[in-house]
Amino acid sequence: MAHIPDGVLSPPVLAAGAVVALAGCARGLKALEHERIPQVAMLSAVAFVASLVHFPVGPSSVHLILNGLIGMVLGWAAFPAILVALLLQAVLFGFGGLVALGVNATAMAVPALICRALFLAVARRGRQRLSVAAAGLAGGLGVLLTALLVAGALALSGREFADAAALVVVAHLPVMVIEAVVSAAAIGLLLRLRPEALLGPLLLTGLMLGGATPAEAHKLKVFATAEGASVTGRAYFSSGDRARQGEVTVTTPDGGLVARLPLGDDGGFRFEAGQRADLRIRVDGGDGHVALYTLPAAELPDALPAGVAAAPAAAAPAVIPAVPPDLGAIIERSVARQVRPLREQLDSWQDTLWMHDLLGGLGVIFGLGGLAYGLTARRRFAAGERT
């Protein structure tokens, strides 16, 4: 319970706590992308609610600190999350001082980070039981370190606090035991149900027992359309993010190279199709993300030479004037530009739709089957009644 009130600690200790807390929060906030804020807030709210639960011990009861648990789940984001929780407790319940906020946050967050490091070192080996044991140890260690830090802050503030500091550590021993068991159970459950939240998607291989495929979560996709002789396209992840870097290779069916160029910052690319053939566009986004798209020859203007040998991309602009700027070509180009976003969207939906289709189809089959069964049963029931 890092709830040291104001008036106890000496100014140097208060200042040191404030500096560490500020630095830790700055580091934590830097690592916290805005997309993760709801998640971090909810997890720290769980810890906040859980730390209000009374655990009976003999005639009295104790509260948990749960900083080990917060640390294991949140990582560096635990620092600002703990500061938020302490600020709320100070304002809502009058627990802990305002000036001592820095010391209190430090006493909770630094052990949280240590617990996280220890837990990950074991959990990355992928042995479930060992990981759960490590979680329990880390949970207990979080309390012990917090008690030691609080005791240290007291002892540094004046020699007269030495007895009280020792008592703080002793008083936290029961909390340590309870929290070890609670943390092991909670982290064990998370490891089984949501391992990716604890370990990150890359570290899962050892723990995953099949079933979920996190790699599917952001498949690289590529889409391209022809506007006249120039082909523009975009590479994106199925999560909707644009691919930022990668290399585009365009080949003809017989393997001839048409163009090779880097991906733009927004995931877009553009090249001149020097010939009228099925163009195979391959985007390599790194990290094993490869996407393929075939642009059918029918989309390219007739004016292009059919299937000639590979024309380098640099030479391609020379081809454009060869396209007669007649009305037909202009219409074709503008229609292609208008329709392009629609087609792009359709293509991205195709990917997500098939699961819905499958389920929907199954639903229809079940529904029709049920209807048929119901009707026949009713007829049979009615017939049975009559006889």
Partner: protein, 241 residues
């Protein structure tokens, strides 16, 4: 509501922080008593409910009871009372009283000026005081989530009670509570994904424009701030006569 409730939360926040800083630096009995009187005055002006407030202060003092009881015996000095062979020094007694006065004065002021504030308003005040935007967002989301998850916790505990669970001081109880917390985390992971999807849908890019809209400080806020500055000065003058 009292007149205090209409003061801008920013001003209240700064006033409380400044008060805490000044009080922590005090050491003379008159100044400390004046600080406590000021806090009581603020509490009366804010019309805090005496029952819950006193209970909170008692909880705070209960937390410090170790420190306070041990101090008279651990501070060297002339013994005033002797208990089981250990003398309680007057210096130690004074030190304990000093801590008691300071911590209660600050806690009472916090409860008086900020206790009645909606946590969301507090978050907005933090944003207008130019705290990092992400910190403020984390604060606001946490406030919201605590309300949600508090209800969820009670639902799950009720379900456990329905299955005959009684909280005891044993491993089984602790483990069950651990699973409960783990389950809450799993659910909140899913829930936060839905929240994020809904926010994305509304074009969330990490900022709420309404948070940084300027809001002018009214004349009465200035008056309140001036009053507080004067009070702080009086405390400092009492400290260094």
């Amino acid at each position: 509501m009292s007149g205090l409730a209409t003061i801008d939360p920013r001003v209240r926040l700064l006033a409380t922080g400044g008060f805490a800083l000044v009080v922590v630096g005090l050491g003379q009995p008159p100044a400390l008593l004046a600080a406590l009187a000021l806090a009581v005055l603020a509490a009366v002006a804010a019309r805090v409910r005496p029952g819950p407030t006193l209970r909170r202060l008692a909880a705070l003092d209960g937390f410090m009871v170790f420190v306070l009881v041990l101090l008279p015996f651990s501070v060297p000095g002339e013994p005033v009372v002797t208990l089981a062979g250990h003398g309680a020094s007057s210096e130690g007694l004074w030190r304990a009283a000093d801590i008691l006065l300071k911590s209660n004065a600050v806690a009472l002021m916090v409860l008086a000026l900020l206790g009645a504030l909606e946590p969301v308003d507090l978050g907005h005040a933090l944003a207008r005081l130019r705290l990092p935007e992400r910190f403020v967002l984390l604060f606001l989301f946490t406030v919201r989530s605590i309300a949600l998850l508090g209800r969820e916790y009670h639902r799950l505990r009720q379900a456990m009670r329905a299955r005959g669970f009684i909280m005891r001081c044993d491993r089984h109880s602790w483990q069950s509570l651990g699973y409960l917390f783990g389950m809450m985390m799993v659910r909140s992971l899913d829930r936060s994904e839905r929240t994020l999807a809904a926010m994305r849908c509304r074009g969330f890019t990490g900022r709420f424009p309404s948070l940084i809209e300027p809001r002018p400080v009214a004349a009465r806020d200035h008056a309140f701030a001036a009053l507080f500055l004067a009070a702080g000065l009086i405390l400092i003058i009492l400290e260094h006569p």
